[in-house]
Amino acid sequence: MNNAMIKRTTKRTEYWIFLVLIIMCVAIQIASGGQLLESSTVVTILRSMVVDGMFAMVCLIVMVSGGFDLSFPAVAALAYSLSTTICVNMGWSETNAWAGFIMAIVIGAVLGMLNGWIISNFKLNTMIVTLATQTLFIGISMGLLELKEITSKLPLGFRTFGESYLFEVKSSAGLRSTMTTMFIPFVIICIITSLVLNRTMFGRALYAIGGNETSAERAGYNVKRVKFWLYVAVGATCGFIGMVRVCMARQSIPKALVGQEMTIIPAVILGGASIFGGEGTVFGTICAVGIITVVSNSMLLIGIDSYWQDFFNGIVILVGVTVSAIQAKRRNK
């Protein structure tokens, strides 16, 4: 029995991803002469995981259901830029900053409804639908509403929230690094995603639909409804994540997230999610995002020009998908 459990664990993708993460950290730690695990570096890396990590959760939950969402950066961008613009125009600066969050969440949910409505009612390829809505949302935010960049006029509430931090660490070389408060929402979103996926019938429905949609329907799930609410929830979460990003960057740029899907989706796939649905875990996804962030952030430490960042990320992902494809091939035999 114990043996069987070990066997099962080693079969799981997230186990290998975790191993890779650890080995990579150790290797970089040695190559950089102990700089990687300096408290300040660790905090910096964790901080830069926040936004990507949260987006990865959103992406994961869609992929589990067998979907492929290209529109989430556009949803987030439209939600936060519209919401901050309203806040600025209303003259809310300090006291009503939370209203911005609520507005962004509501806007995100509404945009998600459009996705959900089309996908659940017409049974179309989700990738193509979200490509269409992505184009539409970009058009709305930058064409129809002509939302502008907001930097210096950003409500003070957002700014102070973004600048707040949990604790501060100092490295041996005297480098200071602060852990942003935004880390808390990141942890909360990860926990919620994990709970939803594993401990609710809704989450099990997503796995079931991703595994076999017809069977899910026969088992008694209302697949249409599940899909609809999935995209609404995803939209709302994207709105929230967008606001977190605005606070952290202390600026709201409608264009900022364009193309972000192309770096987040591969990370989620690296973490064990399948584009055919039904696979993927929160732990694996976090590890994969961790790998990508560590690669990006530690290149300078080991003396590689940071311009090589995309290249190495690409290689890591390429190796990841190749290994999982070879594994799948072997399993089919």
Partner: protein, 341 residues
Amino acid sequence: MQAKFKEYSNKNRYSVMLFGLMILLLMFFSVTKGETLWSLGTWNGIFIQFPEYGIMTLGVMFCFIIGNIDMSFVALGDFACIMAVRYMAGHVTEDMATGQVVGVILIALLIAIAIGVIGGIINGVLVAYLNIPPVMATIAMQLVWLGLSTALTKGYAVTGVPALYTEIGHTMLFGFLPVPLLIFLIIFLFSLFLLKFTTYGKRLYMTGTNLKAAKFSAINTKAMIISTFILCDVIACIGCMIMVSTMNSAKADYGTSYVMRVILILVLAGVLPDGGMGKIFNVLLSIVAIQIIASGVNMFSQLNSYYASLIWGGLLIIVLILSTKMNGTGIKLFKLKKQKM
């Protein structure tokens, strides 16, 4: 007569739809901006602008027909251009004779095409031999090429394009035919020929419809897949080289928005990444329709260019929903397919 039209429209729903769309668009813009629309300048603009991504669309079309998708073509094209421009910048000197400059340009073009071939082979091997789903393989390759370009250029644009080369992008042959349009037409006719009149085209459609059946019918499906990626990426590199002549430089992230635009055009034309479907004439119609929207939006001074994006997205949603209402070859084909090789 009516019955004949009905039969034709049943068979060619997308063509009829796209024609209708085009007429509607032209009518709308004629009414609102008639004078600007029917001016030489507008149409010149249309014919100069669309070849860039139009060429790329034709390339990606091959991938779609065989049931794959390529997300890496722009990044690869940019990389090829960076290498080509670097070569040109390094070898062209002020005092060179025109003939020599032409020689250097030709070698640079060959470099770009060679890189396209290499990129296509890599994509093809990843998909055909390692069985990686094409979306995943090409997204990863997109990052690799983008990363290589960024690392080589440190994110700056590479300049030093010979003046002669830049001229190509702006020359009107015989006073009315822009060179990019000519190249587009050549590639269009080549693709048309390949798809309609050769065994290759027939095998392409059949393999896209059912890869396994094609394999059982003694078709070398792996070679087919690799060849489509090579075609796609070489054509994309040519498209990017035209971009170089209009931009007068090459950069790691030029034209990244074209990836999504190309997919949008193809889906609008009824060429779906599920494979086996689509007609090249519809792709042509779709390209022109998309460009008319962009140019049309440009005619309204109070609208910014993102309005085009709004219309494209809305249009695609409507077309997608309509396509589910078309019976026969409609909806079922839209689902992501799980195919084991």
